[in-house]
């Protein structure tokens, strides 16, 4: 038996460069996840198949071991997910033996609740919000655990760990509860719910280092692969999937690429990369001069894009 203190203090060696372990953040996240299970009656973990929600699943496993994760996972499927992500999701859920709930944006469109965007920049990213809010109401979820991080975007830098949403799922950024020391106030009215962000304080590099150290499996699109792509607005888009709009004059070319985020295919651009292993990905992130969301067109719509979406109930 080693002492846990040794484990926590031990710096990891990554490609010869000493990096602090993500463990202090890991212990904080586990504390938060346990608070959710204890304070709420119907929590759910929002699972997108991306690296952040995969990390959350590992943290939840650790929080309750040797018991199973005491809440279901829920995927809001835009119908525009990378097929690799869906295959990965189903395999993971089977291994964990937890319940998976899937709700589809397509159903919200078919029911006439939302209208599909059209044109060059059409995306289902905004439409997810309606499907998510309906699902929260359907299952009466009082807490939704998500993988958002404060370093992703400026509006998210102000997000609380327990973030209260009103009956309409809206975020009132000017009237947030102060969070002091380790005390998390999960008191809510009926109809309200709380979005919980256990990895609030992690950076992109922290997440990747954790995936590397824990040897967590992630979808293949995070690693460099050959893909038919085209260029638009200086970003690289997948040309292999019908959901990404491509004009006739946008030339298809095979490139070596990987994805840094795995959101909706229609708004997630690829980056040129030869990082085909987790070690290479970590090295690439460390040296990267472009932020993770630099390849997300949804954030580029305006300076305040994320803040506006969050006010409307976006995750």
């Amino acid at each position: 038996m080693s002492t846990l203190a040794e484990e926590i203090k031990k710096p990891e060696t990554l490609n010869g460069v000493e990096r602090p372990t993500a463990n202090a953040l890991e212990h904080e996240a586990i504390y938060i996840i346990r608070e959710v299970a204890a304070q709420f009656e119907k929590p759910v973990l929002l699972f997108s198949g991306g690296k952040d929600s995969i990390t959350l699943v590992r943290l939840a496993q650790k929080a309750f071991w040797p018991a199973k994760i005491p809440f279901p996972l829920m995927h809001i499927d835009t119908g525009h997910n990378f097929p690799e992500t869906i295959e990965f999701r189903d395999r993971l859920v089977e291994e964990l033996g937890v319940e998976l709930i899937v709700r589809n944006v397509q159903d919200s469109i078919d029911e006439g609740k939302v209208v599909e965007e059209t044109g060059k920049y059409a995306s289902r990213n905004m439409l997810q919000t309606t499907t998510l809010l309906d699902a929260i109401e359907e299952f009466k979820f009082d807490a939704c655990i998500g993988g958002a991080r404060r370093d992703e975007e400026k509006a998210r830098a102000k997000e609380r760990i327990f973030s209260v949403r009103d009956d309409f799922g809206q975020w009132d950024e000017k009237n947030q509860r102060p969070e002091l020391f380790d005390m998390l106030n999960g008191e809510i009215e009926i109809g309200q719910n709380v979005r919980v962000f256990p990895i609030s304080n992690w950076t992109e590099l922290d997440v990747w280092s954790y995936i590397q150290k824990e040897q967590i499996e992630i979808p293949s699109i995070y690693f460099a692969h050959k893909r038919n792509t085209f260029l638009r607005d200086g970003l690289i888009w997948s040309a292999e999937d019908d959901v990404v709009f491509r004009a006739d004059d946008e030339q298809v070319e095979e490139r070596m690429v990987r994805f840094r985020t795995v959101g909706d295919m229609s708004c997630t651009a690829a980056v040129e990369s030869h990082a085909d292993t987790i070690d290479k990905v970590v090295a690439e992130i460390r040296d990267s001069r472009i932020s993770e969301r630099g390849a997300r067109i949804d954030d580029k719509r305006s300076e305040a894009a994320m803040e506006k979406r969050k006010q409307q109930g976006y995750f």
């Binding site: 002492t3 710096p11 602090p20 346990r34 309750f64 400026k154 106030n185 990267s288 932020s291």
Partner: protein
Amino acid sequence: MEVLKIATAGSVDDGKSTLIGRLLYDTKSMTDDKLEAIERTSKQKGYDYLDFSLATDGLVAEREQGITIDVAHIYFSTPSKSYIIADTPGHVEYTRNMVTGASTSQASIILIDARKGVIEQTHRHFFINNLLRIKDVIVAINKMDLVDFSEETYNKIKADFEELMKKRDYQDQNITFIPVSALKGDNVVNRSENTPWYKGQTLLEHFEALDQKDIYNTGTPRFPVQYVIRPKTEDFHDFRGFAGKVYGGELSVGDEVVVLPSMTRSKIKDIYFYNKQYKTAPRRSSVTITLEDEVNVSRGDMLVKVGDLPTIDKQLTATVSWMDSADFTPGGKYVLQHGLNKVLAKVDAIEHKIHPDYSGIEENVTSLQMNDIAKVRLRLNKPIFYDRFKDHRTNGSFIIIDSRTNNTAGVGFIE
């Protein structure tokens, strides 16, 4: 500990955002797309310098008004440490934000404009840092470029601040003075050639050198039980694990413990972190503990070492920082959350209000408004097991919840 959280407070004029921007820039933590956005917006506004405040003031209202109204979190890292800056506004009407930011920080930066010296705001920032018992405080004397990097000016400000330090309650605070120019980059990350008379570390060098013992006060171990793990599977049929986070000190296998409030005694059998067993659970680790005996333990109970009992009482005196728009009044009833436990609390009396700038106290106060700090007496419907805040930051603090709105309305530090 490899994650260091630093509280900053100040107004736009102090150059606080510039200092944070400088830290990000000189540690190469600012990505090209963010830098480009700053360059673009700075140019639009007609500035001939980079306005780093654009990187930190996140909300639309803040950008419009050019002020910071909340706690923003900014991240950067060096090869040896990850840093989180909890950035708050510095005016008196944001006292509650400063208290919030400081509550989770282990270090703080107090910014002083070298042209203005120690002002009322400096008193307040120091008061809050001292009240919250932040162990490591940097006094960054900024805008040294505008006073010709004068050693005399620096020494004068340092002496004035040392006068202020005589009034402090928490004496063990480490206080370090550094002459900087955030705009020009002197002594922030890189050593300055303009201050040959200054032999100390740069701001970043100072933080890099901080060790666990420099940022955490030692106390006695407290283990509040968050969740009871009962897998009821074949392999773990009789497993009853108590999940929680260790505060104050460490716990080890074999330690004799008392379960509060039942006062049952037992011994720590195993310590688990995920599927591995450990001999010791250090401070701030989230572990699962099993006991030798079958004792009744549920959420909110606390394991402490035998002979190391906290105070168990239904009455307490505390310094409260009020954060809600509804007033705090004697006779008022609230929910008090102490660690994981919630009890009902009645305000017996407001003893006096404390001016957070060391200008004294005010007696015969009938109510507290948002941002007020006061000494109060509370009566609870059930006993809690607490330590004094000066002995235990975690077990000596509580939050007050307004049961009508469920808002976190205040925070208290137990005497």
